[in-house]
């Protein structure tokens, strides 16, 4: 496997250190290929000329606002919708025309789609029996799945006798049971409480690693996408905005849209005042006359309007000006303070009325915070903290 920039997606899963970046390897052959796929429902374009490669053993997450076409993208792979234009291939085979029951994919439905007249056990066994798997093996697999989703005690119940979260877990178990080559998960964990969700996330990652499956997951929870995925695709209006590993999506968003959609961000409108190799000098609208610097390459020319994206945790809020003259610094007053337990969020109002958020970990058990409402503060950040966005 090639070594590339994106080696930063090293993860420790189940104690195994993972170095996995086939998308940087020009020799690697993608397992799933969407090629210029368009899907229209009447006049409405749900997926718009989209091309995407997903590699074997990849855990791929789709992020995007409601109605942007995530489910449609999955349904085309599962075979419930045919693309209006373009081609989808799985392991080199063109999928167009292959009925869903002959495809090597399994899908967990957003609405669960559990069979109401069958018990939990029979629901999970359905796909296995379809493959004419031998009885003992079916039982063993179903038990294993029940254990995985912690529903051993509910095997005999019918779906309507379960809670929403339990139903979701049955749907997950049912889609996993056949150990498909590609598993499509449409918001698989949305109805679970935080603790169970986190546990299940790690279980999913373990299963995926262990069985060498390829997962395509839709989620509304960015943290979840960050945790589980090798790569994330941010979608909007049926198009991909950025496809990259989680750290890249977070630290180097390619557009205002991605920066804004993933995580908290302060976006300052600014003008480029000077350009040097690897260093951009800007003047923010919110702080006229102040020279801000960012260490990065930039496509914009001098005088052009850009945006400077700053994550709240990269801003420091202090009562005294920073000592280091190379650090960027803005002034403002504390407008509000949000106490989140582990963090405090300071909302600082800049002179022109723009508000920025700065997150500060609560390292000590201070009941009274030294910085309080209406205080004049200095907001500082290093030149490598911000990202200049031209889109």
């Amino acid at each position: 496997m090639s070594t590339g920039v994106a080696e930063k997606t090293q993860k420790t899963v189940g104690g195994i250190r993972r170095t996995f970046a086939p998308w940087n390897d020009p020799q690697a052959v993608p397992l799933i290929r969407y090629q210029n796929v368009t899907k229209r429902f009447g006049e409405f374009t749900a997926v718009d000329n989209l091309s995407l490669d997903i590699y074997e053993r990849e855990f791929f997450a789709l992020l995007g606002p409601s109605g942007c076409g995530k489910t449609t993208l999955m349904r085309m792979l599962a075979g419930f919708e045919e693309p209006t234009e373009g081609q989808i291939t799985l392991a080199g085979q063109d999928l167009v025309g292959t009925p869903p029951y002959k495809r090597q994919t399994n899908m967990m439905f957003q609405s669960y789609a559990l069979f109401p007249h069958m018990s939990v056990w029979d629901n999970i066994a359905f796909g296995l029996r379809q493959d004419r798997m031998e009885k003992g093996a079916v039982a063993a697999r179903v038990e294993e799945m029940l254990k995985l989703v912690k529903l051993e005690k509910f095997a005999k119940r019918k779906p309507h006798q379960l809670s929403g979260g339990q139903r979701q877990r049955v749907a997950l178990a049912r889609s996993l049971a056949k150990r498909p080559k590609v598993l499509l998960l449409d918001e698989p964990l949305g109805a679970l409480d935080k603790k169970l969700r986190e546990e299940t996330q790690f279980e999913l990652m373990d299963i995926q690693m262990e069985l060498g499956m390829t997962f395509l997951i839709v989620t509304h929870d960015q943290e979840e996408a960050m945790t589980v995925a090798d790569r994330i695709a941010v979608m909007n209006h049926g198009k991909l905005v950025q496809v990259a590993p989680p750290a890249v999506i977070y630290e180097q968003p390619n557009s205002r849209y991605v920066a804004d959609f993933v995580g908290d961000v302060n976006i300052l409108d600014a003008k480029v005042t000077a350009l040097a190799p690897g260093l951009v000098t800007l003047e923010a609208e919110a702080a006229p006359g102040m020279k801000l610097t960012a260490t990065q390459e930039c496509e914009a020319k001098v005088g052009e309007s850009v945006a400077l994206a700053l994550r709240p945790e990269k801003l420091r809020v202090e009562l005294d000006p920073p000592a280091d003259p190379n650090v960027n610094c803005l002034t403002g007053t504390i407008w509000d303070i949000g106490y989140l337990g582990d963090l405090s969020i300071y909302h600082v109002e800049l002179p022109n009325g723009t508000r920025v958020k700065a997150a500060k970990p609560n390292l000590t058990r201070m009941v009274e915070r030294p910085i309080t409402w209406e205080d004049k503060v200095y907001v500082s950040f290093t030149p490598d903290a911000g990202v200049i966005l031209t889109r």
């Binding site: 599962a78 419930f80 029951y101 899908m107 439905f109 789609a113 559990l114 007249h117 379809q130 049912r174």
Partner: protein, 307 residues
Amino acid sequence: MAVKSGARSSGRWLVVTIPYLWLLALFLVPFLIVFKISLSQDAIAQPPYLPTFDLSEGWAAFKDAFGELSFENYGYVLSWDNEFIEAYGSSLWIAGISTILLLLVGYPIAYGMARAPKSIRPTLLMLVILPFWTSFLIRVYAWIGILSPEGLLNQLLIALGIISPDAPLQILATDTAVYIGIVYSYLPFMILPLYSALEKMDETLLEAAADLGCPPFAAFWKITWPLSLPGVFAGCLLCFIPAVGEFVIPDLLGGSDTLMIGKVLWTEFSVNRSWTVSSAVAVLLLMVLVIPIVFYQNLQAREVEGR
């Protein structure tokens, strides 16, 4: 608090009682009257049976009248020497076969309606109910015009050269005509419950089945069919129960050898003028039908519980 719950429980009491009062007045009381007649003897009198209860003649006469009641008529109806048992059997048979035919015809129609685009479903429903706008009797008479030897069907087949003009199909006055009549007349009662069961079904269930490797035909038997069973049972009972007692269709379309209990009852009542025997026939018919009704109610209760 006590007052409030009292008021609420009396309200509930009212809601529960009214349907029961209705049943009592319009079902139980008439039933008891018929039952009493079935225990009486025929007589040339007005009304044509004995005894009659008349409190004006005193309590003793009332008690004597009670003593005269007997199950004699039931013995007569249930004896193998008479054709009643045969008629019951034949009615159940004809109703059973008709119900199966109705299911075979009705299911695909209901399925097609439930899968039709949402916008045209109300129209399709309307078309199913449309025949009710014409009198049932006229519609059955119309079948005579179609099925008779000189009828439309034979004319068409002869015109097409399928059969020769000398040997028209003899359908009218046979059991086949009765089946055709029952299937035609009862079809809406089969389609409507089936449609409502099928329409409720979530189509993503079939997608889920396909996703798990189940081809469409197998998915029908594993998913659609079991989920439509409540509709199947409801439709079958709605057709079977009235079909057993059907009188008009066998009388108009059936032959002289078509034996159905409704026809026998009518003959007994209006030709033989035996109120008592016809009442016994009616009570026994009710007994035969109570079994499927109880079965149906059990099923409904189970379904409600299962929701």
